[in-house]
């Protein structure tokens, strides 16, 4: 049996979370969705890896929800963290509530 070393928290997510620390050139493996992806940065365990290209200004999706906005283009296999993601501004958060109403 293959052992997963990353987890995708929701089908629509564009990032996955590493369950082990990974060196450049190692692969993330998620058996049930058939994902095998070489990592391009060193990834500490518990940190996020990009699995779909994300353009600057686009949403980072984890748990199927918007957890932040990309501040640079992020390519597949790269580390997703404070150096390329910001939280939402108050005005952006308010818009999402108005969307509901």
């Amino acid at each position: 049996m293959k052992v997963n070393n990353a987890i995708k928290l929701h089908p629509s997510d564009n990032v996955v979370v590493a369950l082990n620390s990974l060196e450049v050139g190692e692969h993330i493996l998620i058996d049930e969705i058939g994902l095998v992806q070489e990592v391009k940065d060193k990834i500490p365990y518990g940190h996020k890896v990009c699995i779909q290209e994300i353009k600057k200004g686009e949403k980072i999706l984890k748990y199927g929800e918007c957890m932040g906005i990309a501040t640079n283009d992020i390519k597949v296999g790269h580390h997703v963290h404070v150096h390329n993601v910001r939280g939402l501004k108050e005005s952006e958060r308010l818009v999402s509530v108005v969307d509901f109403a």
């Binding site: 918007c66 957890m67 939280g87």
Partner: protein, 385 residues
Amino acid sequence: MKTFKGYKRPNGTFGVRNHVIVINTVGELAGVANRLADLVPGVVPVIQQGGTSQFPEDSMQTIRTIKGTVGHPNINAALILGMGEDDFAEQIAAELREQQCKVKAIVINKSTSLEKLLVDGRAWLQKVYEESLEDKRVDVPITELTIGLECGGSDAWSGITANPAIGVCSDMIVDDGATSILAETTEAIGAEHILARRAINEQVAKDFLTIVKNYENRILDTGEDIRSANPTPGNMVGGLTTLEEKSLGCIKKGGNAPLQQVLKYAEKPSAKGFVFMDTPGYDVESVAGLAAGGCQIVLFSTGKGSPTGSPIVPVIKIGTNPKLYEIMSEHIDVNAGTIVEGKKTLQDVGEEIYNLVLKVANGEKTKAEQHRNQEFAIWRLAQSI
């Protein structure tokens, strides 16, 4: 229709336990209440340290919590100990007796001395405890089940393993037509707009945003700012990038179901499905509020092994990481650390939790029950007078 084996109460509710309890309305009687429980083996002490010299908002919250605890479906009978002329023990007992609950109040200074309290209390507890042993479990539709969702002693894995696995279980419970109550308003700060969007209508969304704002304002009044202090530098080392991400890791215990209702602390839901209760992040107070609101079982994720239990409801512990299970397996009911090891998926562990909920509803004891972890405290909003 799925069922569990529970106790039918005369007021039409259903319990998963058949406890006889003794509870004190004021902290001054904590020792006496403990002593009475010791005198009758099998009786559970529900001990709290507040109840007097409180501002009205706290008095109301204390009365609501004690009434919800005494009238809880897991309770067969309850003795309430009170003190002084204006004590609320007799009022609660009278209201609950109208709902056919088996409740007695003894108030010292008013109707009896301390010595007589011990003699009378012991005799009554002995009698009702023996009667409680006659009760038999019956088949109960699963729609009568209400579970609470809680975390305590979280770690970097909480939002990746145990919490989303609890979310899978919560969605299954909601799909069954039962009720699941997410707690801890503090944990939602930063992701409140996301949960608000899941509300069934604008009013419920507003109710939810209001309790978060009120909570945040109370914290700001003390000079602390949760929003700008999070995620902490330690969280960032652990891989958390934004406040939204941190809060999502907590609120995902609630799965993906629509939000039906927002409850006050210790308030009973009138809707079935997924609801939210306004509680603090302190796990003992939060679990007590969930229980008083009618949850028969609480699911509790922990990364550091918080032993918190409840005197009246079974608390199921879900450990977030393999190391915790290795060190504290005697306190952990479900090991979500298997997800970190890549051996199980969120779905696997979510189903494992769900199956255990049904077993515990049928009577299987949780680790917290086996260890008699019976913590109880009522959330205070203001200082003592």
